[in-house]
Structures are given as C-alpha cells and as structure tokens.
C-alpha cells in the first residue's frame, strides 16, 4: 500500500505533473479501480495502452456473451415502429424487407438475443413478428445461418399463432433440414389445425431436400 508520506511528490504546478496529468486525462484507458486506500492515498490499476479509442476486433468464433448495443436496440425498435405504421402484404416490400438484412449485418454477434427481445416485446405486433421471421429465412449469409435457424426454431413456441406460422414460413425459406426436429415437435403440440397443416407442409418440403438443399424427386 502506498503511504503518501514516503512518496517523493513534485510540486503540483510543475511541467512534469501537468504533462503526466494531461496524458492520463487525454488517453482512453481501461480502469481497474481498487478499493484499497491508505491515509491520504488511493491506488488505481489501469491496463496500459497507447490507444485513444478502444475497438476490439470481433471474432466470429468467440462465445463471449454478446452485448446488445443501444444502437442495435434502437435500430430494431425503429424498424418495428416503421413496420407497425405500414400495411404488410404478401409480395410487397415493407420496412422489414428493406432494412432488416442491413441492420443484422451490422450487429451480427448479438443477433440472437436482440431478435428474441424483439419477438417477446409487447411493442411488436404478431404480424410484424411474422414478417421479421419470414425475412430471416430469406437472408443468405453463411455466418449468421445457424443463429437465424435458432431464432426461427425458437419462434415456433411463440404465443401467437401468426408468429408461429411466420416462423414456419421462415424455416421454409431458410431451407435447412436441421429444422425438421423442431418442426415435427411443433406440429405435435400445435393446437390450431390451419397452423399445424402449414407447418406440416414446411416439414414435407424440407424433408424432400437432398444434401445440397435441392428439392429431390418424389413418388406421386
């Protein structure tokens, strides 16, 4: 522990002190604040870096728990709000089809928790949730594919039948047979005939795909 009475302390107004203080203040650094304190002295541990802004390179293979940034959250909230204010019709473009892919490309690492948050939010009407899910299936991106598959399979358990149906359509568009386990479970528990039939059609379609994702021939 540092004892201030044994330190050689220069005059506060000297160039050395001003320079050192200025350097500390002008450099962006990581802080490790230590609770220890002695009479008249306090210690702080700071990781050394000459960087003035800290940006860690994102690693695709990292499993660190991703933070959903305020920017990402705001982007999705604005998207949902815009989608709420426009009619959503089959085959017609809307804010989701226009903007979702770009938003997700900018925030790929936190995609899953952010989308789960949107789907579970009371601010997201089922029709908008369904449109989001359909669009998730349409995106072609190898790196985010397993994350989108996870979200679509997760949404098969949504409270709203419209959302569950949207998840099924999204899985159809995604075209991944790994979804079959989740689809078959969803078919078993689906209480509504119409939704169950839709999910069954999606499962049949995926089951007919070959290893390359190409629809195989079927006996008629």
């Amino acid at each position: 522990m540092a004892d201030s009475s044994t330190l050689t302390v220069p005059e506060i107004d000297s160039p050395d002190v001003r320079n050192e203080t200025s350097r500390l203040l002008s450099t962006a650094i990581l802080w490790h604040l230590v609770s220890a304190a002695t009479e008249g002295a306090r210690r702080c541990f700071l990781e050394p870096t000459s960087a003035t802004s800290l940006t860690a390179p994102a690693a695709d293979s990292s499993t660190a728990s991703p933070e959903v940034s305020e920017e990402f959250r705001a982007d999705l909230q604005r998207l949902v709000k815009a989608a709420r204010e426009q009619p959503i019709e089959d085959g017609m473009s809307n804010p989701v089809t226009k903007r979702l892919q770009t938003i997700l490309a900018r925030h790929r690492s936190a995609m899953v928790p952010a989308l789960v948050g949107v789907l579970e939010s009371r601010q997201t009407p089922p029709i908008v949730a369904a449109e989001l899910l359909k669009e998730l299936g349409r995106i072609r991106d190898r790196v985010s594919h397993p994350h989108r598959l996870w979200v679509l399979a997760y949404a098969l358990r949504a409270a709203s039948p419209l959302t569950r149906d949207g998840a099924g359509l999204g899985l159809a568009r995604l075209g991944d047979r790994d979804a079959l386990t989740y689809l078959r479970a969803a078919i078993q528990r689906e209480p509504l005939d119409e939704i169950r039939e839709d999910l069954r059609l999606v499962a049949d379609e995926l089951a007919a795909l070959d290893d390359d994702g190409v629809p195989g021939s079927r006996d008629l």
């Binding site: 220069p10 609770s35 220890a36 306090r42 702080c44 541990f45 293979s61 399979a153 790994d178 989740y182």
Partner: protein
C-alpha cells in the same frame, strides 16, 4: 511453458431452441440460495451469484445460453487467481459435469473460456521475448507495445462425428499502471507485468446437435484438452 494461473473460468452451454434451464438451477447445484439474484431486462438474463470454491460463481441464464463463470474473490490488487492451470478450473468443471449428468436441457453447443496469466516478468520486452516462444510475430524491437494476436485454429473433434472444435486464443503482454495519488499529485508506474492468454475453446455453431449426455461430457473433456495444448505449446500460425 509458462506457469499459468487462471484469472477467470467460464463454461457455456448453448441451448436448443426448444429447451430452457430450470430457474432453480442455483439451488439444485449449490444447495442453498444465491447471495445475489439480478434480472437484466435488456438481455432477458437472470444472474445468480455467490461464494464458490474460494471465489465467486455466477450462473447466468438467458433464452439462448447458460454461463457458469468462476472468478476469484476480490483482493487488494486485480492480480487475483483461482489457482494454477488446470487445477484452478477443477471446481467449475466438476460443477458443470454434475449439471450435464443431471438436469441439463438439450444443448447444441459448448464452450470453455479461460483467462490465463503468467508469473510476472521483468518488463514488457522480457514479456514479448517469452511470448515469442508461444506465438508467431511477437515484437523484438525495443520499445514495442500494444501487441495483440488473436486467431482461431479449428480442428475436427475426435469424439463426435461432424463436430468442429474452434480454438480461439488471444495473446498479449499486460500489466497495470499503479496510480498512487497523494494530496498534491499522482505518481504512476507499470506493475505486475505478465503474459496474458484468453482462450475460448468451443464447438462450431453449425453443428445441429443436440448432444447426448455422454457426448456432452466427452466434449467438455475435449475442450479442456485443447485448452491445455494451447497453454502448453502456444499458437503457431
């Protein structure tokens, strides 16, 4: 190989989309209430934490994953450890194995995260010299700073067909500025200079899973072996 000390340890299980973790997991595994329980609305994360094996354990539940994080109890400096590698990770590994063999839900991906810190070295140059025996490209020029190497070198699993093991590691020489502030001024010096290796050994997200119970246990062992190899031999490009 340097004498590595474990600063933090993490085991993560990524859940199948149709499964979830019991809210009573802390009680089920530890046998008493957690010291602290926090819900973070933004990420729908439940954190339960409390004392565990001379340190602090946090179990974080989210819709997509569960994280078991073990860190040392706070001390007078940030240079606190769970123990030497690999012994310091044993309590967390044993806890995770109990969970995997008991009440774990369907898991599609697993990860072992370790922050390893070496014994102190004399200075940054000495640190880079030692780091150069473990990774390629460590600077030899006097006065060099801020070197970081991050790389993933994946390989096939030897236990599960079709599974890949990501071996992500990040290497640097670290230390701390000790700022002693008196009434009139602040004095700084770099202290506790050390090698730092952050390991994130995990299974590839493309694997559909889920893992069977025995598979999950053998995968966890495989992740630990891979981490041990990296700690011993470093990462050569």
């Amino acid at each position: 190989m340097p004498a590595w000390h474990i600063q933090t340890a993490r085991i993560t299980a990524f859940l199948a989309p149709d499964s979830s973790v019991s809210p009573s997991i802390w009680m089920d595994l530890i046998g008493e209430d957690s010291a602290e329980s926090v819900y973070k609305k933004a990420s729908a994360a439940h954190d339960d934490s409390g004392p565990f094996a001379e340190g602090k354990l946090t179990i974080q539940r989210q819709p997509t994953r569960i994280d078991f994080r073990h860190e040392p109890a706070p001390g007078p400096t940030p240079h606190q450890f769970l123990g030497s590698f690999p012994d310091g990770a044993r309590p967390l590994l044993e806890l995770s194995r109990r969970w995997l063999s008991g009440s774990a839900p369907s898991i599609v991906r697993m990860a072992l995260g370790l922050v390893l810190v070496s014994d102190e070295v004399a200075d940054v140059e000495a640190g880079y010299r030692e780091l150069g025996t473990l990774v390629d490209g460590a600077p030899t020029q006097p006065g060099a700073t801020d070197f970081h190497l991050q790389v993933n070198l994946p390989r096939d699993s030897t236990h599960v067909a079709g599974l890949r093991i990501n071996r992500l590691s990040k290497w640097s020489v670290g230390g701390y500025f000790e700022v002693a502030t008196g009434r009139l001024a602040a004095v700084t010096q770099l202290v506790h200079i050390h090698l730092r290796a952050e390991l994130d050994v995990n299974t590839n997200p493309e694997f559909a899973g889920p893992f069977g119970q025995e598979q999950a246990m053998s995968v966890l062992d495989e992740l630990l072996v891979a981490a041990g190899e990296i700690a011993e031999r470093g990462t050569k490009l």
